[in-house]
Amino acid sequence: MVERPTDASPGGPGSSKDDEEELARRLERLGESLETRRAAEEAENRKGRSSGFAQATKVASEFVAGVIVGAGIGWGIDKAAGTSPWALIVFLLLGFAAGVLNVLRSEGVVADAGARLREAEPKETRRPDRDGDRPAP
């Protein structure tokens, strides 16, 4: 008299049991894939990027640029004020220091001027590393 649809004879209500299981499985799969999608979306939002390339041209260009600018400023001051060669010498030294600073900064040894000043305020942005350059051959 108390007939449960789950333990009834196969054929009629038996197939509904299969349907039920199938539906449950499909629901589970749907739930999983929805979850994966959401996770992927979140991961994409805070995806970090770091390149494994570290190269000499980067260091060289950083250093040379500092020296060139220093020399250029010194030369310009000498030219304008007629103090040759003292400004050139002084600014070449400063340029050398700036070049070293550039290199240290690009290697992440010394904090960026901006980053150092920003320390107090909450950082909402992440600075990508500056290691991307020529790949190691």
Binding site: G70, D112, A113, A120, E121, R130
Partner: protein, 252 residues
């Protein structure tokens, strides 16, 4: 013609196509100008044609266009935050321009505009001027706080500030020198190895056997140069974003 192939510098020569003179300045339409125009046309045509379908499910080309868009957008957002997105058109233009110029330069007999220091320097100056002008417009005198370090003994402040200023001014130079040097060095190296192949294979069977090694090197270098072409465009973009970040958030 064989001589052209062997001379690794020849590819960087600028030849006039349409001589124009304005006052004292020679502003002729040269092969460099031609390739600048080709870069613009190629990049724009690609981006427009690739997205002509405007399909929900992108095809391969549309995907490439969309990927470059989101790639630059993500890089900029990572480096400079939401406020940096107002510079997105400029950063995207720089990225696409440098990338397409680099890639066009990989085609044999094509001119590489980014192998000329003046081009990369102008692009870098564009970035730095944007940073300085926007920084001063937005933050006024505060912007120069970027150069005054904190936590340094008072006596050293002028010296360190001087060094910081030079370091800041060296940015466009290092930015341009890096791109220029990479493209120049890559193309010279490629040309030299290709020259070896040509010279050796001209010297008979033994030479052809000997040419295998430089040929393999040339192939490997070509692959490497494609990577470098992309990577330099990326580095240029990342550094642009970081400098822009200094203009947007120069600290207190």
């Amino acid at each position: 013609m064989a001589a052209d192939k062997v001379d690794p510098i020849h590819q960087f020569h600028i030849t006039k196509i349409l001589p124009i003179n304005v006052g004292h300045y020679d502003v002729s339409f040269t092969n460099s100008s031609l390739f600048m125009a080709m870069t613009v046309i190629a990049a724009t045509a690609f981006l427009i044609l690739a997205t002509s379908g405007r399909s929900m499910v992108p095809n391969r080309w549309q995907l490439v266009a969309e990927m470059s868009y989101s790639f630059v957008a993500n890089t900029l957002r990572d480096a400079a935050g939401k406020a940096g997105m107002k510079f997105f058109p400029m950063v995207f233009s720089l990225f696409m321009f440098v990338l397409v110029a680099n890639l066009l330069g990989m085609i044999p007999y094509f001119f590489t505009i980014t192998s000329h220091i003046i081009v990369t320097f102008c692009l870098a100056m564009l970035v730095i001027s944007t940073v300085v002008i926007y920084g001063i417009w937005k933050h006024g005198f505060h912007f120069f706080g970027l150069f005054v370090p904190s936590g340094v003994p008072a006596a050293l402040v002028p010296l360190v500030t001087m060094i910081e200023v030079i370091s800041f001014l060296s940015r466009p130079i290092s930015l341009s020198v890096r791109l220029f040097a990479n493209m120049l060095a890559g193309h010279i190296t490629l040309k030299v190895f290709a020259g070896f192949v040509v010279t050796l294979s001209a010297a008979g069977v033994a030479g052809m056997a000997g040419a295998v090694l430089p040929l393999a090197m040339a192939v490997a270098l070509t692959a490497l140069e494609f990577l470098v072409a992309f990577l330099q465009a990326y580095v240029f973009t990342v550094l642009t974003c970081m400098y822009l970040n200094d203009a947007i958030h120069p600290g207190h």
